[in-house]
Structures are given as structure tokens and as C-alpha cells.
Amino acid sequence: MAKTLEMLVNTLARNVEKHKEMTSGNLAFAEAMRQINPDVVAAYPITPSTEIPMRFAEFVADGQVDTEYVAVESEHSAITACVGASVSGGRVMTASSANGVGLMHEVFPIAAAFRAPIVFGLVNRSLGAPVNIHCDHSDSMPERDSGWVQIYCEDAQEVYDTALLSVRLAEHKDVLTPVFVCQDGFITSHCYEAVEMLSDEAVKEFVGERTPHYPLLDVDNPVSYGSFVMSEHYFEIKRNQMEGMFNVPRVYDEVSKELAAYTGREYPMLDCYRTEDAEYVVVIMSSAAGVVKDVVDDLRNRGIKAGCLRVRMFRPFPREAVKDALAGKKGVAVLDRSASIGGTAPIASEVKSALYDLSEKVPVQEYIFGLGGRDFFPKDAEMVFEMLEENDYTSDARFIGLLEGDK
């Protein structure tokens, strides 16, 4: 806290240099990478995140960064190289999407258990089959139990800010956990819009240098990674790993306040838009939150107490904050952009679980929307609020915008 205040005072005194430019979610992430100047980037490009390694490779070729860029032959190799570089003590970043993320799956829990603070630009795209290049969250959701932090961004500005923030969050000695910075494929990654960026000096000052803990290259203090561990100790090691994730909310709060002193923007783990006095709340993630917020304003003008709860931090899931935000509501609809086939969709499952402790039940309706890039319009959000007002619930998930009908 003292450090935050100090930063704030410094900022006011220094007047941080910023500029606004037209860019996209992908290019904003790549620009943040240039300013962060990581030690190692290993990547294997895939749509829609291709522009991130493509632009970054240009920075490397033009000598704008000192990064060791490792062009590999698959996503599995990309993330493996990242893990090796990270545990050696380097600051490491990469990016991928869809089946590329799927191919990395085996290595994600290893990265997390090695406490390798990799920052990963995950541009959300549906998992095949059928082959589809457009957005849904079916690539990142299978990784929700891989031990990585997951942050979902609403727009390109948030992508840029979150990239900077995540370096500090991941590398913090109390966290040491890799971070996915998620953005919606095409919708955010390819939309051309204005983003305010800090000067290179300000970014350099904010991210600082990585202080590695137990690096492989510290030959005076040799350590071993990837050892074989029997049942006697495996459980304890996994329990110990969880501490890093448990510390995320506290460190996130500190680091995001510190970044806010530079940018003037702060993103809480939950974006509570007009939820405080709302009767009906839609819970959603990423880019589709914008249209829900527009509909909330329209409904408010018509006297309907609507609100939008955007989940920005999905791992760790801010359970207590969700419970506090939704307690006492007349109705809640949770909109997932992925399905857990045969089970409850990821966000709905978390929200229902968070509300379980409440003495007074809050009704929750589960919706699936937007798979494979199916667009989500104001009329869709209006329909969801209307059904909440009509107290219309089903025990199964409903589907929004299906050609064969919603039910």
C-alpha cells in the first residue's frame, strides 16, 4: 500500500508519458511484448493469434528487442522451450489459440508445477472439429485445472494493460504461477481501435527485471526440475503449489493499483456494472460484456433494474466477491461461451457453487452462446433479461441464437 501511494505521488510528479494509437488486440499484445522485452519467446503461429508472434518476430529482426526468439516446429515444442527458459531464470512470453493450445495441454501443468512465470497471450478460438477459426472459449476452458491464472479481457486496451500487469503478477515471489491473458479471437484480436500506451521507459520501470527463484542456471546453488516423486511427497508438492494461486488476489490487487498509477485505469477481478442495486444480473466474460452493458443502460432507462457482472479473473475464481455481488438478486443468468458437454458450463458451475452458501437461494439460469463465433446481439441480451423478469427457468442449459430455436 505504501508503495502504491509512493508510486502515485511519483506519477503525479513525473507525469507519465502516454500516447494513443490505432491498433488491435493482437498488435496491442505484441507491442506490450516489445516494451517488456522478454528474454525468450518461443512460438508457433496459429490463427487468430498469428499476428502476435509475426509482429514480435519483426521486432526481433529489426533489433528492437534483445529477445532470443525460438522458432519451433509445433506448439508442444513452443511451450516446452518456454518452460525450459523460464525455469532457467528468463522472462518468457508466448501466444497461441485453439488446437495449438490443445497440443500444449500436456505441458501446462508442468509449467505451473515448476512455478514457471510464463505470460501467455491466449487468443480464444473454438476447438475443432469441425474446423472453425472463430471465437469461443473452448480452448482455454479445458486448461482451467492446469494451475495457470486465467484473465479474460473485454477490449484491446485491457489486453495491453493486462499484458504488463501479468508479468509482475506471474513473477511475484508469492505467486510464481504462469498467466493466460485471454482475448476473444477476431472480435478483439482483429478489431482496429484506439489503445493508450505507456512510454517504453514507463513500461521498463513498471515491469523491472525478473528476480528468478531457484533458477536452473545458478550453478552455485544447483537445483533439479522434473524429478520423479512417489506417493510419499507428490501430494505435499501439489498442495504447496496451490499456495501460489491462493496468493493471486492479494498480489493482483497490489500490482493492479501500482499499474493504475501509471495508466489511470484499474481492473478489479470482477467488473460489476450497475449490479449494486440491480434485481437481475447477467454474468458473462470477455468482449460480449460490452453489448450486455449497453442493454443494461437501455433497460435502466425503462425502469428495469438490470446489471452486468463481467468475470475478468476466472482462475483463481473470485468466489467470495461473486457471492457478495449476487446475494439477494431476484435472478441471475450465466452466459458461457463454451460448454462442458455432459456437465454444467464452466462459469455457471462456478457461480452456482459460489452461491451455495447463501441462506436465501438466488435462482440461476445457465446459457450457452456464441460457439464458433456465432454473434451475440443486443436482442439476445434483451431476451435473457426478459426471461429473468418472467421468472422463466429451466434446469438444463439454454442455447442462444441456435438456428433450430432457443429451446
Partner: protein, 194 residues
Amino acid sequence: MVNTAYTTIEVRWHGRGGQGAKSASAILAEVLFEEGKHVQAFPEYGAERQGAPIRAYNRVSNTPIRRRCGVQNPHIVVVVDPTMVESANPSEGCREDAIYLVNSTEDAKVLRERLNLSKAARVLAVDATKITLEELGQNRPNAPLLGALSHVFTDVSVDAFVEHFVSKMRQLPAPVLEANKRAILRGREEAIIA
């Protein structure tokens, strides 16, 4: 020319892959951003191949833009390819008072009939293909269409369009740049409003 009662102006571009509709929407967004507007530019990504029909969109507002869905009810429609007047159904979902900018050799009144528009709608016709064939020796209709759009976004001068185009295309050889500048100005001058 745009009804200022609308808080956000939405634009839909109809073109063919390789014609530059996506670039044109991005340049329009940049010009309006330079003029202090909040903007978005995004194409509809499908199977990308030369000549396939494509759509691109803009949103322009004086306040931050939150929605990111496709544009369904545009205020402004730009038809980059003359053959798309019927095939792309440019008036789909449009507002009554929408403005249509069409790259066409035809008279704006004829286009109004072909598009089957109400009295509230307005049509701007400009032969952008002819202009760029004469000025650049290539069919690249973007520059004249952007020039003609300065009739629509009246708070942006045609000079702003030209200046922005020039600063973005600085790497082009001087004669090409000059030709583009002339194409923008001719687009504005030769656009016929009905």
C-alpha cells in the same frame, strides 16, 4: 449529412476480397480517430479468397463504444464493387434514412431505384473505378470512395482525409502518392448526390 441525433454511427462496407474494403474501413477509422472520435473497424472474416464477397464495418461515436457485435442496422453503406448492388443486398437491415455510397457508372437516381430505397434514404454515386484507372492505372476504388465520404462526415475536412492518406502511404513513390491525392479529391468532386 449524417443525422446528428444518432449517438453512434454504424457503417457497412460491401466489397470483394482483394479490393481493399477492409483497408478502407481501417483508414476511415484512423481519420475519424485523428479527429477525436471513438472508432472501431472490423471485417467479417470468412473464407478469404480474391473476389469473394466480403463485409467490413465501422462504428463512430463521440463516447466510448462498448458493443462489438456485427453491424445489423447501418446508417451508412458503402458499395465498393459495382456488381454488388443487387448481389450483396446492401439495403439489408438499413435504417430508412441510410446513406448509400456506391462505386458505379450509373446515375444516382437509377441506383436509388435499383436499391429500392425510400425517400428518406440518400445515394451518392461516384465512378471510383474510372477515377483510379485514370489516376493510378489500376482499379483500386478506395481513395475516391474515402474522398466522397467527406460529404458524409461533414465535421471532417477532405484535407484531413488527404493528409491522413499521405502520412499512412509515405513509403509510396511520390508520383503514386500524388495520384492517390488526386483520386481522393476527384472522389469528392465527382460524387453525385440523389
